[in-house]
Amino acid sequence: MSVLVNKNSKIIVQGFTGSEGTFHAGQMIEYGTQLVGGVTPGKGGSQHLGKPVFNTVAEAVQQTGADVSIIFVPPAFAADAIMEAADAGIKVIVAITEGIPVQDMIKAKEYLNGKNARLIGPNCPGVITPDEAKVGIMPGFVFKKGKIGIVSKSGTLTYEAADQVVKAGLGISTAIGIGGDPIIGTTTLEAVKLLMNDPDTEGIVMIGEIGGNLEAEAARWIKSNGTKPVVGFIAGKTAPAGRRMGHAGAIIGGADDTAVAKMKIMRECGIEVVESPAVIGTTMAEVLKGRA
């Protein structure tokens, strides 16, 4: 099974012919992802990387049957691109774009309410189901197929966790980068739920960072509903309050969104929390062994 994307997903790229879109679409095709085309307004009817280009997402969906879209369009137009994808009936929208204005995302998120579309991101590395589909910018070779699902706010820290999980002999079912912005389409909790319900996932790595309460919300759900072991890590124990650490959402606003506070809640909810990001993989292996 796996979640969100698989070998049958038909994927289009919004912002297909731009430099980012071109580079990453090429990498996705090389990985073996079923990329069926792309959208760049004004370039419809042409071919790019051997795939058809369309003027609108609606047309792309009509012609290719696409159900997944990945967005590389610049920040000023990205919220519009998200809404266009949802309007055209795309089921999974992966927004890679970094730097979308918050007021734009408030409107886009509201627009998605009641639509049959799931947004991942923005400002995220994307989603990968190893050996089936890479819908993102992550280095595909790090993610070997296996039974561990990963949910993470951060890009390179996701790669780090995946690498450790693979080196511990486990491998990845699906890795979901949810993004580090204040407004994101899919929360930690929603991503964890998907993986809990996935028969191919046996354990979950949940990686968060300072700011917000997404991890606490997910932890509380896991406490009552979790059926699989979860290993957790929160980055930013050493980050000072009130200073933004890179991601727009990574700022300590109150006593509840520090790394220490989140880790405490996660532990109380039965999550195996690691203090060191260097032992995520080995801890997952030990936890699974303990269960066997």
Binding site: V102, P139, S154, E160, E209, T238, A239, G249
Partner: protein, 396 residues
Amino acid sequence: MNIHEYQAKDILKKYGVAVQEGILAHTPEEAVAAAKKMQELTGTSWWVVKAQVHAGGRGKGGGIKLAKSLDDVARISGEILGMTLVTPQTGAEGKFVRKVMIAQDVYEPGPEEIKEFYVSILLNRQTGRNTVMYTTEGGMDIETVAHNTPEKIFNEEIDPRVGLQAFQARKIAYNLGLTGEANKGMVKFINALYKAYEGIDASMFEINPVLKTSQGKIMAVDAKVNLDENGLYRHPEIYALRDTDEEDPTEVEAGAHNLNYVKLDGNIGCMVNGAGLAMATMDIIKLAGGDPANFLDVGGTADAARVEEAFRIILRDPNVKAILVNIFGGIVRCDRVAQGIVDAYKNIGEIKVPIIVRLQGTNAKEAKQIIDDSGLLVKSAILLQEAADKVKEVLA
């Protein structure tokens, strides 16, 4: 991005928000002239001298004082200008005061009781909507109110499809206990404030206090405005208000090179690609017995020039005893980063502190070879745990 009180008030006024008026001054002479002008314009007979720095709690640090005569204005501005203002928000090092606002005194007694309220507008991350947060307990820390009397804090959430509605502004005014002209004034105040918040792509407005004067007028006495940096491209006139004097000079320089740098107090510098991994690396340093000297995200395209600039910035901090470079190469090839490190090392000249380089991902083995063969004072690692152990060795 943050802006000063006087800049925030200028913006609010443009949107029709009533504010305590004031004039900016850089010297005591300018301050006296400003005070005279304020008297002409508003009829005020006393003045408030307000330090203009990017920090809250200015009053507590002695940065806001009442002047009852022009002599007072000269003397007090002389004291405040050039002082290093320490407030609960500045940290012990404080903020150097370069300018003051000479504001009208709005607390003159009169027919009605004077009241202070608190109003802020911000994003509720849980709902993904803007919300107006307000309380009758103005003039004090909102954190204190939230802790002691949480029941006195109200929230009015804004539906993004229709924006702030008239009934919501009325509800706020009634919940604040206002009647008559003051009630109408508050409705107008809230409407204008919300328009300004959306209009400039703000990420937070905090008006504390919002004052009801003895004449029943509603106005913003202070204004804290934070802007959404992602929205600044739409507002070049607001971006122009950026005051780099208020920022750490090294952080400003790092930003000019597209490096995301935050100075911290520790002894181990670090250079990492990606914000989450950078924070995780800081945590690893702490676990290894050190303290992170900085947060530094070199971004997704860590080329040789950027790596070199990052080294220069980290090395400027005299507390740095060692540097940990942690790069997870995805699209970026580790061997190129390694070559960048070797080149930077040679270009900078003598680097006296040990450097631990951990390169993982694409071409990690080749990268380690380049580092090991360079003959430099560099310890290389591939696993994150190895890097942590090497930090421990350096500190031992």
